[in-house]
């Protein structure tokens, strides 16, 4: 009971932080992705936007998962540490697991809202249809979020200031969004390059998400890639747990 209440109140506090920031966060997390969808659907169209938009809906959702882990969790943790909020929380009886669980649930809820918005915008504006099994889509989204939150936590663990966390998150998020099949198809790159890029967890995740959601492929075909994502997630969690500092 006590733990549940801790968790709920802490999660509420994360949302308070989100909603009371003068709309700045709402703009970046909800408005900008839809804007990108519209912009790039036309920019990358081959005469018609049906293919580019169908490529972009899962791509941008995937990119949001990446930035949610790197910025939403990594930079947020660094900011909390810099503002001494973490050390204040550390000296209370709240277990670290409850704190991180609330952070993950907060980001997952936001991602769900982002995904729903992008799927709705894709359907209404570009007639993008999702053929995949909703549970499988949800499962791969959860796995991706867990992976990139755990990797993002490393950023929050190893950086000392918000500024350096910001820098690392930018260096990772922006290029990865373009090199991971999110905005532009990587099969336009030379074969050697695209093969190498397919080893990135971000590419694996976004490709599975796209195949499952748009093409209606079954998750069962992606055993190796899912195993690879799990390895990244476990590695991220272990490294985070080893390096994380509350003060």
């Amino acid at each position: 009971m006590t733990l549940l209440r801790m968790f709920l109140v802490q999660t509420k506090m994360h949302f308070m932080w989100y909603f009371r920031r003068d709309g700045e966060m709402i703009f970046w997390t909800l408005v900008m992705p839809v804007f990108f969808l519209v912009l790039f659907s036309y920019a990358f169209s081959d005469g018609t936007t049906s293919r580019s938009s169908a490529f972009l809906v899962p791509g941008i959702i995937g990119a949001q998962v990446l930035s949610s882990g790197f910025w939403g969790v990594g930079v947020m943790l660094a900011t909390f540490r810099e503002k001494h909020l973490l050390r204040r929380v550390y000296i209370t009886p709240m277990p670290a697991s409850v704190f991180f669980a609330s952070l993950v649930v907060y980001r997952m809820t936001l991602l769900a809202a982002q995904a729903v918005l992008l799927i709705a915008a894709g359907a209404l504006l570009f007639h993008v249809r999702l053929l995949g099994n909703p549970l499988e889509i949800l499962a791969i989204l959860l796995l991706g979020t867990a992976t990139f939150v755990s990797l993002g936590t490393i950023i929050g663990a190893v950086t000392r200031t918000t500024e350096s966390a910001n820098n690392i998150a930018s260096i990772l998020t922006v290029p990865l969004a373009f090199l991971s099949d999110a905005y532009v198809p990587i099969d336009r790159f030379p074969h050697a390059v695209s093969s190498a890029l397919r080893l990135l967890p971000s590419t694996e995740f976004i490709d599975i998400l796209r195949d499952v959601s748009i093409s209606g492929a079954s998750l069962t075909h992606y055993g190796v890639w899912i195993a690879a994502l799990l390895v990244w997630m476990i590695a991220g969690t272990v490294i985070s747990a080893r390096t994380f500092r509350w003060v």
């Binding site: 006590t2 209440r5 801790m6 709920l8 109140v9 802490q10 506090m13 308070m16 932080w17 009371r20 920031r21 503002k83 001494h84 909020l85 050390r87 204040r88 929380v89 550390y90 000296i91 209370t92 009886p93 709240m94 509350w246 003060v247």
Partner: protein
């Protein structure tokens, strides 16, 4: 087992700097213990080692018999201690009520949103957002968070630094009240007056070491030096009776008595003798040794503001 806190041979290094260079002290239950020293003397680091934030490089710490440097000890200790950190660190987008509710949830208690704000002078400000509060108000809210779960031991790190007179009065009142209620309190400060007024015992910390530890009155009596009485009066000279009060020195027209007797009585005697000598008093001064005199005598420096 009447000591709430026992620190032995505590060492904490930051690179090549020894912030805490072998500190030992113990704090009996129900008393107020003041760590007094300049900024950078090692007070905060010592306190952080008591609450699990700082990891000692050597030495041992026990709070309520528990070891805050070990996870199990710290987990059992956390619900029983209250802490006000030096830098206020509150969720800035939440209001006073929400912050109290958050911390009540952390400790598994019912929020005391009716009682706490009044105790720290924030009554009527339940819906005020942290970001819109002054620094002093934020510090008082931080104090409320340290107290809300009624801890047995309270750690206050420079609790009144930057506070106005109102905030200081509130904090001092709370410390006196909690002491009367049998709580143990450790506070760090670089305000001599605060340490003297609140502490049962004071540790003077200098460059990571304890250079003196005693009750405030004892520190003054032992290290504060003599009281002085200075008089300028035409035709005055100390006679035998006045010579017996202490050591007289003369600078220009001013006579100065350094004495171990009660300076008020010495002053009265000096004035009476001066009057009976028909000496016309032009200037008169008395100085009773203070904790600041003791601090300067012990450390060889003033407490100052700078590190």
């Amino acid at each position: 087992m009447s000591d709430a806190i026992v620190v032995e041979g505590l060492v904490r290094r930051y690179g090549s700097l020894e912030a805490v260079a072998g500190i030992s002290f113990s704090v009996p239950r129900g008393t107020v213990f003041g760590l007094l020293g300049r900024n950078g003397a090692g007070k905060t680091t010592t306190l952080e080692c008591c609450i699990g934030i700082g990891k000692p490089d050597a030495g041992s710490v026990r709070v309520l018999g528990l070891d805050p440097t070990r996870p199990q000890g710290l987990a059992r200790l956390r619900p029983r201690i209250g802490v006000q950190l030096q830098a206020t660190s509150l969720p800035e987008k939440a209001n006073v009520r929400e912050v109290l509710e958050l911390y009540a949830a952390y400790y598994g208690i019912a929020p005391r949103a009716a009682e706490m704000p009044a105790r720290v002078g924030l009554d009527g400000k339940l819906t005020r957002q942290v970001a819109q509060m002054s620094g002093g108000e934020q510090q008082r809210l931080a104090l409320a968070l340290a107290l809300q779960h009624d801890p047995e031991v309270l750690f206050l790190d420079e609790p009144t630094a930057g506070m106005d007179a109102f905030g200081r009065r509130i904090l001092w009142g709370e410390v006196e009240r909690l002491r009367a209620a049998g709580k143990t309190i450790v506070l760090t400060t670089h305000y001599i007056e605060e340490a003297e007024r609140l502490s049962d015992r004071i540790c003077i910390v200098q460059r990571g070491k304890i250079v003196a530890e005693d009750a405030p009155a004892e520190l003054v009596a032992r290290h504060g030096g003599d009281a002085t009485v200075s008089i300028e009066a035409e035709g005055f000279a100390p006679d035998d009776a006045l010579q017996n009060l202490g050591r007289w020195t003369r600078t220009g027209t001013e006579w100065k008595l350094a004495t171990r007797t009660e300076p008020g009585l010495a002053l009265a005697a000096v004035v009476t003798r001066a009057n009976s000598m028909n000496a016309k008093i032009t200037s008169l001064d008395m100085h009773r040794p203070t904790l600041e005199d003791a601090f300067i005598a012990i450390t060889g420096e003033t407490i100052g503001e700078a590190a």
